[in-house]
């Protein structure tokens, strides 16, 4: 019975494959290029997915576009330029470094450095607070306090 259910589940699961497009490539290099590009390009409809993950219609169309361009011998850069010309730097998961994206690239490091600076300042302040210089009077009083407790504690 268990086997029968498993078999049934297995048969059902093949319908998953209906949604997967099958692309045939002339050589492995092209297939690699295709997989690399659709992993690098962002889907504009579901913005936190790349073209490879997204099943939005636009993503399907753009995958087809990438596929056809590869078939026509386009280089990575040509395909990326094609996408950027239409959708802007937003389609790239790794946008180029320029004025509009500078903060995106440098921002995290600035915040990291600022964090370190604050940490160092705090540590230094703590050290200074710990190393309090005692003048002679304070020293004598401290000694007396210590002596007092010693006398009362010892029988």
């Amino acid at each position: 019975m268990k086997q029968l259910i498993l078999l049934l589940l297995l048969v059902c699961s093949t319908s998953l494959w209906a949604g997967v497009e099958v692309h045939t490539f002339e050589n492995p290099a092209q297939e690699q290029q295709y997989n690399r590009l659709i992993a690098e390009l962002r889907c504009l409809v579901c913005q936190n997915q790349n073209l490879a993950d997204s099943n939005a219609e636009l993503a399907q169309d753009l995958r087809q576009e990438v596929y056809e361009m590869i078939q026509n011998g386009a280089t990575d850069q040509e395909i990326i330029n094609f996408m950027v010309a239409r959708y802007g730097d937003f389609v790239l998961y790794r946008p180029p470094f320029k004025a509009t994206t500078a903060f995106l690239w440098v921002g995290p490091f600035i915040i990291l450095i600022a964090g370190f600076v604050i940490l160092l300042l705090v540590i230094r302040k703590r050290r200074q607070a710990a190393a309090v210089e005692l003048d002679d009077a304070a020293q004598a009083r401290a000694q007396q306090l210590l002596n007092d407790t010693n006398e009362t504690d010892t029988p």
Binding site: L44, V45, Q47, L58, D61, R86, G88, F90
Partner: protein, 177 residues
């Protein structure tokens, strides 16, 4: 004093950033096509399949391109606004019927009214890709020279027409062809 001012300062900065972030529309991706020539195409018309329509037909005029589809729910929201805009006759609207079925699209216009000077039938969405379409509806303003000057993503409302699109169209009308 500083002990209280520093956290307060950080808190205010955070509030400012977060409130800006709340107001931003993440779907509003700036189009790289603004200021560039409108991508050329020649597509069959929706209602007259044997005739073609192209941006070149609007050369010398300020016009709008509106991307729509009968399957697009937000298009129903903006449609009355477009109908009203078309009635003023101030600016021609070219419809780009995006990845739609011809019969459904024609039926849709029959039921809701047709604000378009003409509709281009982009069945496979290739022209949509050239125009950087990623969310229907989208509306572009094109100047007399054939350059894209403005893009509105999502349904156009009365406010967008009154405050953005029509003032821009009127300014562009004054530019030489």
């Amino acid at each position: 004093m500083w002990r209280y001012l520093v956290p307060l300062g950080i808190f205010i900065v955070l509030v400012v950033f977060l409130s800006i972030g709340l107001k931003l529309n993440p779907r509003d991706v700036p189009s790289p096509l603004i200021g560039k020539a409108a991508p050329a195409f020649s597509l069959p018309r929706l209602q007259q399949a044997d005739q073609t329509i192209s941006p070149a037909d609007f050369k010398g005029r300020v016009w709008l391109l509106n991307v729509w589809a009968s399957w697009c729910v937000s298009c129903r929201v903006e449609h009355p606004v477009l109908n009203q805009l078309a009635r003023t006759g101030e600016v021609p609207i070219l419809g780009l019927n995006y990845k739609d079925g011809r019969d459904e699209a024609i039926q849709w216009l029959r039921e809701r009214g047709d604000p378009y000077t003409a509709s281009a039938f982009d069945e496979d969405g290739r022209v949509g890709i050239d125009w950087g379409v990623y969310g229907v509806p989208e509306t572009f303003v094109i100047d007399k020279k054939g350059n894209i000057r403005y893009k509105h993503t999502g349904p156009v409302d009365q406010k967008a027409v009154m405050e953005k699109i029509m003032p821009l169209v009127r300014t562009l009308e004054k530019e030489p062809a």
